[in-house]
Amino acid sequence: MQSAVSIKDLKIAYGDNTVIEKMSLDIAPKEFLVLLGPSGCGKSTLLNAIAGLQDITSGEIWISDKNVTWEEPKDRGIGMVFQSYALYPRMSVRKNLSFGLRVAGLPKAEIEARVARTAALLHLDKLLDRRPAELSGGQRQRVAIGRALVRQVDVFLFDEPLSNLDAKLRNELRVEIKKLHQSLGNTMIYVTHDQVEALTLADRIAIMRDGVIQQLASPSEIYHRPANLFVAGFIGAPAMNFIEGRIETANGSPTFQSNELSFDLSGYGFKTPPVSGQATLGFRPDHLVLDGAASGLPTIPGRISVVEPMGSEAVLWFDWAKQTLSLRLMGDVTLLPGDALSPGLDISKASLFGADGSRL
């Protein structure tokens, strides 16, 4: 099957400092792929390499089944949206949108038609004669998106496009970008360090760390079945709870043991048959059930230290064996700090990681 963007054995290094190590990645047509990771993980470098703005050390980049490794950015069939918007400050919105087309020598009527269509799509009609300085942050970013749209290309690249906006605008534009993807059906590659953006927008997320993709999967897969400790800890807020312990297989069915706790692991979906040894048990705050006794699940007895009400939901922080764990529950909370609790854990929803950090 053909792919919109294909990266083959890509390596990017500055001298001895390797930023991207032998990476291969295929992105399907019409797919929305999010590159997610902490700053310095190489996600922006990768995006710039796809755009042709970044020299690569070795490997190939294909876009729409054409090897574009040596092509100029303008010839790659891409449009790009930047974090700082990168609008040309002394040009009106109209000129910002049309500048590239005019330089490329497109017929005037064609340029006007494209600008008009893009402006209508992004609700920029009334702003066409303004300068960037006269626009709000959200409007500026819409113009920046428009500048990518007028190019009428198959692949759009977004480099942290919402990072400079305040929380409210960020939410609004996120929805707009998602709508845009649904109506245009282009391939989109989107770099962010914001997991909410990643989870809400992506068809697939590639979580990166130190230039290596840690997991490439759907948002739900990444949230529920993180491939390793890094992914597990990076995704989710509050972060996943981790308990260090051992897996014992001696007594027939495997168990996880830590301090006085012992969980039966027969309900856990192991990738390979379990063996005894060091392991980490991870579970999300929303995978704990407040009333453990009633649920019949194995419980983790503790004492509440902090209660964080958040309107529709609340997070309880409780102490267990010198650790602070978190529990999320819906609705109002009547519990107070100091109260004892004994939440139950659904092992089938939890994650187990071996000594090397990867999922068991």
């Binding site: 020299d55 690569i56 050390t57 070795s58 490997g59 190939e60 090897n67 574009v68 490794t69 040596w70």
Partner: protein, 294 residues
């Protein structure tokens, strides 16, 4: 085959544009360095060699006699004592002028930006206007006023003039610098009970050391390079190097000794050039700050 399977970095091609760029830069380098080169080689030639009319040729043998003449024997009109007295005069004028103007300017900038007493903006406006107006309109009344108080044609007089005319720029630079200092710093010190001068000497001046260096350099080259004020106010005994240089070169009787002229010119340019080449980025910062905010 490589064309069919591009892989790795794009092979770098030396484009015509790139070559043109370096050609342009090299021509520019030639334009900017030739005069300096010419000056140096001329100063090392004998007059016989100069008369051959080969301005760019290297001297056939190094002859430093023009330098010694320029330093201690060149003639201004009928007086032949060289440019050395001008060198010492320039030092005697420049050093106190720089120290005083930087100090007063720093205090001004600090008071205008962090204290803003009544009338501060009016004073600042007056200073800026004063800095823009050509000196010619001030000269005659100042000469008369200084003569009245006995400062005309004296070292103290020319220093005072330099301090006065240096105030607008120095004040502006320090004001812009102190404006960027968080006001909380000043407020915190006042809560701690420190007064105007204490805050200045113990907090603000130490912060502003880089600015002091930049401004001092700017003022030093500016005052060293001054011609007009030295000519009018310094008096015969205190003429700065630039004025003496012009007298040596442009009031010669008989044949012009170009080698001596060029040696004297280099000697005059030596101090600001040394500051420029030794301080590098500081100097650049200084003129950038002075220019953009001017």
């Amino acid at each position: 085959m490589a064309r069919l399977h591009p892989n790795g970095p794009k092979p770098t091609q030396i484009t015509a544009g790139r070559i043109g760029l370096y050609v342009f830069l090299l021509v520019a380098v030639l334009f900017f360095t030739l005069p300096l080169y010419t000056m140096v080689v001329t100063s090392l030639k004998t007059m016989d060699e100069i008369r051959l009319g080969q301005i760019f040729s290297l001297p056939s043998k190094l002859d430093f006699s023009a330098w010694t003449t320029a330093w201690s024997g060149a003639c201004m009109g009928t007086v032949c004592v060289g440019i050395r007295s001008g060198f010492w005069n320039s030092l005697a004028i420049t050093i106190p002028s720089v120290a005083l103007s930087v100090f007063v300017g720093a205090v001004n900038g600090y008071a205008l930006s962090l204290w803003r007493p009544r009338g501060a903006s009016v004073l600042f406006g007056l200073l800026m206007a004063g800095g823009l107006i050509p000196y010619q309109i001030f000269l005659y009344p100042m000469v008369r006023a200084m003569a009245t108080v006995g400062l005309y044609n004296s070292l103290a007089g020319i220093i005072l003039v330099h301090v006065i005319f240096g105030l607008p720029l120095v004040t502006l630079l320090f004001r812009n610098y102190f404006v960027s200092v968080p006001e909380e710093l000043c407020k915190a010190a006042r809560v701690d009970g420190a007064g105007f001068w204490r805050i200045f000497f113990e907090i603000m001046l130490p912060i502003a050391v880089p600015m002091v260096v930049v401004v001092s350099m700017l003022q030093f080259t500016g005052i060293w390079n001054d011609f007009l004020l030295g000519l009018v106010f310094a008096g015969r005994d205190n003429l700065p190097m630039t004025v003496q240089l012009n007298n040596i070169v442009n009031t010669t009787m008989g044949e012009r000794t170009y080698n001596v002229n060029m040696a004297a010119t280099i000697l005059t340019a030596l101090v600001p050039l040394a500051i420029y080449f030794l301080s590098g980025r500081w100097f650049v910062r200084g003129i950038a700050a002075g220019a953009v905010k001017g």
